[in-house]
Symmetry: C2
Subunit: 323 residues, 2 copies
Amino acid sequence: MKRPWQGQVEPPLLTPVPRHDPHNPLCPGATRANGEVNPHYEGTFLFDNDFPALQPDAPSPGPSDHPLFQAEAARGVCKVMCFHPWSDVTLPLMSVPEIRAVIDAWASVTEELGAQYPWVQIFENKGAMMGCSNPHPHCQVWASSFLPDVAQREERSQRAYQSQHGEPLLMEYGRQELLRKDRLVLTSEHWLVLVPFWAVWPFQTLLLPRRHVRRLPELTPAERDDLASIMKKLLTKYDNLFETSFPYSMGWHGAPMGSEAGANWDHWQLHAHYYPPLLRSATVRKFMVGYEMLAQAQRDLTPEQAAERLRALPEVHYRLGQK
Amino acid sequence: MKRPWQGQVEPPLLTPVPRHDPHNPLCPGATRANGEVNPHYEGTFLFDNDFPALQPDAPSPGPSDHPLFQAEAARGVCKVMCFHPWSDVTLPLMSVPEIRAVIDAWASVTEELGAQYPWVQIFENKGAMMGCSNPHPHCQVWASSFLPDVAQREERSQRAYQSQHGEPLLMEYGRQELLRKDRLVLTSEHWLVLVPFWAVWPFQTLLLPRRHVRRLPELTPAERDDLASIMKKLLTKYDNLFETSFPYSMGWHGAPMGSEAGANWDHWQLHAHYYPPLLRSATVRKFMVGYEMLAQAQRDLTPEQAAERLRALPEVHYRLGQK
Ligand SMILES: O=P(O)(O)O[C@H]1O[C@H](CO)[C@@H](O)[C@H](O)[C@H]1O
Ligand SMILES: O=P(O)(O)O[C@H]1O[C@H](CO)[C@@H](O)[C@H](O)[C@H]1O
């Protein structure tokens, strides 16, 4: 962190986002690429991605002729979920009841797609820096016929820990962080936010329920309200850190579903990961490049330093509070 | 690839780089952050990074009190290697003998640091998009007291393949790609360049010697000359793809060294990985974000499509040839 920075500075957001743009395919009443017209929705709105990366009927690659050349069909569906009818808001600027509606929609889509697919990946790319191609507040939901790589690794680690220690890894981990305190960012009746011991992105956080919960649909109404409120606090702190609409990719991980949903998945604990790219300011990011791509992640600040800075930030958004 | 792109466009390089800038710490004769003055070097120039991520005397974190909280000291050294005295050239604009001098310097630094450290990671971050903070042509060398994550994975896979099939994984892989042809980009007497079957970055390539070579210092003079020439061709194709100074992170992987250098590492085959970020044009990149970070890499173009486009490009640089 002491190194002088002469490298790339991200382009600032120059144009303010209009509240409604009839040509933006995510807006209420707009016409999408496939000719469909969006309803005049007033809360969340879920629809099929017009440019899906996964399709339900992807062809099989056929048998392999060599151990080093193995391919499998990847089948699934890709959906888009708008969080709000307005393009000029983000989650931290929405009200707690509006965020609660997003959480309910996340739980429903998990249930709906999980009936057929073993993995339902909800993720939000926020900000142009994180490849988001549309400023309207939204996330994506990709359901797949297979457990993706990261899901497989979490499955293996959580299963091994449970069989060795007799309890879920992330339950013990959350309990330990509550005792140790130096990586905690926020706590509430039902939730914890912390910078994990293994964090590699600057200001990376892990959002965990206190109770043993395997999947989003299992959350009680009280846990959902509390989640909406702690999310608003966390995302407000993020925006306040560099007084900018803080970019990140985030997503939920919970126990696999699909035809095996009824098996024993008690080693799983529901959680969300937040991966923010900004390191030094609103325009200077962390680059995960050479050494990180070819060898190993290396950190520019410690999890304890990141947690301390996030803890110290106000819970009132810099654009809403009085200066 | 059919999806319309309204997202981030990278800032173009506005200012031409001066050939010599006395305030650039990588230039001959310049004063560095630690007060040292660079020699008036005429070829390559190797020096200690003034802001090293690894240090030889990093303290031990002490014993762990819990299985989930394990840390180890990471010791090592970080060096910087300038490729050329001029700031306004890049490898593809350098002559074959000048590139050959870089290869010799890579082999020497591997030998020198490998005497003490088990892993010597040579890597080049090229271009501001890849976090490069100085336009002067250079790479970095980080030697570590441990095998980094990616090295460990390559060690496990190559060892397992050798014990199952009795020959090095990458020898058989290269042979298969020579037969199959559709992922080949360039071949020469001693080297192959291909887009690997497992590529996730657009236009990612793998550079492999044809002979079984475990480490850079083992390369013969003829193999080094031929490597300089195939590197110039590959990097010229890269620059020609979008008529820009093509950004990438690249690096070398070879058998571990240090105190275990004398053990049997015959399952290792030396190779270089090139990871370029550009997808659609000189200013629109591939973002490895939400789904990729939380679930699994997904590709925007196939390795065969990427190889075909690279094969078709001229081997004369767009800035040097006649239009
Ligand atoms: O050492 P540099 O060029 O300043 O830094 C660059 O390479 C490092 C090693 O890959 C990364 O950790 C940094 O994020 C990147 O900006
Ligand atoms: O679907 P989008 O928002 O157009 O695309 C974004 O998210 C995808 C999923 O993480 C990535 O593969 C793309 O590179 C990124 O630009």
